[in-house]
């Protein structure tokens, strides 16, 4: 009879132990209780004893580190050859646990399964179409594309019964974020542009939902944007909020990162001189003027009659009241709030996060994060 001697668990902290030395030569007879080998953990050195008499056949070499439960030796009541021991051990050792491995019977990857689910196509359909050892993500995507090309777009793809989603030749359908006075100005600007059309407004104020503004429906809150986009209801968005810059910036960053394209809405009588560059998400109202070689970042709100002279550099997320006028080569940071009727001398720098009060005349550089106040007293007396 043969018995396997495993590496015992010597300490609760130890998942492995070192086999230091064998105290008995291979094949030698041992008595019950005789020390067979010395094993060391980080805390102690102990002898492993024979639980019964027999001949000892070591399976591990002295000096090796073994996990708890690993085979140390075979104890046989009869002398045995090395071959007999090997054969016996192989029959004892359980087949390695393969449950952690990808199942060999599964013929697809989880990513392929996920793609099928996301496109509402059954995995079985894809597996039937697929020829090859394993259905991988690239195979699945190819088959899904084939299926979708063969099937007409389901009606949920677009809520519009006439327009196809996003053809490049058609006018741009715009979603407006915010349903206040800014939206009225935006709708007015869009109304005069034959290449843009407002299709919906979203606003978190529930009392507005279901109403229309200049004929455009207020369809729900900001949470609705993802659905509207998924249903191809609009081609690009614009933010019509000018009162709260933090909200303006957060909405822009969040939805741009989500993948929503932002457009520029520019009233038709705005004058853009040579070599002006614009980011996206900018609102530029009637009679504004951008001088030659001026560059503008993203998500700015320029009210009517704002004049940004030549070679200006304007950052992102700024708002301008009406009649703000800069001179040449002025540089403006991000999130700057301008009141109404401000004049700025040439070659000045205005730092980010500053606020400039109405009626100011800016004659020197403005550092970041300050409020510029101008004391113009308004008084009244009887006629």
């Amino acid at each position: 009879m043969k018995t396997l001697i495993p590496m015992p668990q010597i300490g609760v902290n130890e998942d492995t132990a070192f086999l230091i030395q064998w105290l008995v030569a291979p094949g030698e007879p041992v008595k019950k209780g005789q020390a067979l080998c010395t094993v060391e953990t980080t805390k102690s050195v102990v002898d492993i004893e024979a639980e019964q008499a027999g001949h000892l056949y070591p399976l591990a070499a002295a000096g090796s580190e073994l996990p708890v439960g690993a085979p140390l030796a075979v104890l046989s009541t009869q002398p045995a050859t090395a071959n007999e021991i090997d054969t016996w051990v192989q029959n004892q050792t359980p087949s390695p646990n393969t449950s952690d491995q990808p199942s060999p019977t599964r013929t697809w990857t989880k990513k392929a399964e996920l793609l099928a689910k996301q496109h509402g196509i059954s995995l079985e359909t894809l597996l039937t179409m697929h020829t090859g050892p394993r259905l991988e993500a690239a195979d699945a995507q190819k088959l899904i594309d084939q299926l979708q090309a063969a099937t007409p777009e389901p009606s949920t793809q677009s809520s519009d019964l006439v327009d196809a989603p996003c053809p490049s030749h058609r006018i741009q359908r715009i979603l407006i974020l915010g349903g206040g006075d800014g939206a009225v100005q935006t709708l007015d600007a869009i109304a005069h542009d034959p290449k843009q059309r407002a299709v919906a407004i979203v606003d978190d104020n529930k009392t507005l939902w279901g109403k229309t503004m200049m004929g455009v429906p207020i369809v729900g809150g900001m949470a609705k944007i993802a659905d509207l986009w998924a249903n191809h209801t609009f081609d690009a968005a614009i933010i019509a909020i000018s009162s709260n810059l933090a909200v303006r910036e957060r909405l822009f960053t969040q939805w741009r990162d989500f993948g929503i394209p932002f457009t520029n809405v520019i009233a038709p009588n705005v004058i853009l001189h040579s070599n002006v560059s614009l980011g996206s998400g900018n609102l530029i109202m009637a009679n504004a003027r951008l001088g030659a070689c001026t560059s503008i970042g993203d998500n700015n709100f320029l009210s009517a009659y704002v004049n940004i002279e030549h070679h200006n550099k304007l950052g992102s997320h700024c708002t301008f009241g009406p009649m703000v006028s800069t001179s040449g080569r002025v540089s403006i940071g991000d999130r700057v709030i301008f009141g109404a009727g401000i004049f700025i001398e040439p070659h000045l720098t205005i730092g980010s996060d500053s606020t400039i009060a109405s009626g100011s005349i800016i004659r020197g550089n403005v550092p970041a994060g300050v409020i510029v106040k101008t004391h113009i007293q308004q008084s009244h007396r009887p006629k």
């Binding site: 990808p102 990857t109 990513k111 399964e113 996920l114 991988e136 900001m222 949470a223 969040q254």
Partner: protein, 317 residues
């Protein structure tokens, strides 16, 4: 200790030849006999003494033998160490570092296996730092001891002590610097956009290399974000990934109710809003005492099997 002689180490049983219950200080008292102090068995005294040393210009490192015993130091930490700088109008600082091992997985039972850093999250002016499997623990400890003038609770997971720093498998790992001075780590098993984003810290990271490899076998792109500074918590750097991915799992080793994962989830909900594809999922320990028997302990705490199962649920939700 070689860089700055103001550093003093104190704690229970930390002198040679024993060298501490987890051998972290082994050899230190032989090298710096005047600067490594064995203390009586009083955690309140250890932190109280450390506070006094810090007020007089030293930079003490206090060891609490098991994180479970940090409860005994609560008053010194909450009502003293973290308050002095503001109470005395910035004229003093208390640059103490409290190193302590937390976490289960070793069968140590209910009072030697917990992750009690949770009790200290949210204490103003207390910095809580936890190295993960992917951090350079020495760099973080150096920053806590020499670079941080606030009290630091430095959480060491018991299972990470014997872990090798070298990564066993092709994982892309990048360090993301943080204004706290304790960089976060982002790891990913593919360069493609994330199918799932895992946010966790400390000892849970031990399971990630194997899990990321299993997911890669299934062509799933998994990204994980591991802040070292768990309080204060800055999730700003991961927001773009989180917004694009939209499927997020937050894992915390202790019970998650009223916990770190709840705070992280709320920060993400505030910042991401509707860009989530499925509600943020949290995985944490059961809210009960941790059993000593290993198979029962596994039912209570986080295991790799539970993490993987939850990942599939989030992906297919």
């Amino acid at each position: 200790m070689a860089e700055d002689e103001r550093v003093i180490v104190l704690g229970e049983d930390i002198l040679d030849p024993y060298g501490g219950a987890f051998k972290v200080t082994q050899g230190l008292s032989s090298q710096y006999p005047q600067r490594v102090w064995a203390t009586p068995i009083s955690e309140a005294a250890i932190i109280g003494i450390a506070n006094g040393l810090a007020l007089r210009g030293l930079r003490p490192v206090a060891e609490i033998m098991f994180g479970d015993f940090i409860t005994l130091a609560a008053d010194q930490l909450i009502n003293h160490a973290t308050k002095f700088a503001q109470m005395y109008n910035g004229q003093v600082s208390v640059p103490i570092t409290i190193r302590t091992p937390m976490g289960g997985g070793r069968g140590y039972g209910p009072t030697h296996s917990q992750s009690l850093e949770k009790l200290y999250l949210g204490i103003p002016e207390l910095h809580i730092v936890a190295p993960s499997r992917f951090h350079q623990p020495g760099h973080l400890l150096r920053q806590a001891v020499l670079g941080d003038d606030a009290p630091v609770l430095f959480i060491e997971h018991k299972l990470l002590y014997p872990a090798q720093l070298a990564l066993p498998w092709q994982i892309q790992s990048s360090e993301i610097s943080d204004s706290s001075g304790y960089p976060a780590i982002k790891v990913q098993n593919a360069s493609s956009p994330a199918d799932i984003l895992i946010i966790t810290y400390g000892g849970v990271s031990l399971h990630l290399p194997q899990i990321l490899e299993n997911l890669a076998q299934e062509e799933i792109s998994a990204h994980a974000y591991l802040p070292a500074s768990i309080h204060p918590l800055n999730l700003e750097p991961i927001l773009p990934t989180a917004a694009r991915c939209g499927r997020i799992l937050i894992i915390e080793e202790g019970p998650g109710n009223f916990g770190w994962s709840a705070e992280a989830a709320v920060q993400l909900y505030d910042a991401l809003g509707p860009s989530l594809k499925t509600p943020i999922r949290r995985l944490s320990a059961l809210p009960t005492a941790i059993p000593a028997a290993r198979h029962l302990e596994d039912q209570v705490i986080i295991t790799p099997e539970k993490i993987e199962k939850t990942i599939w649920e989030v992906l297919f939700a």
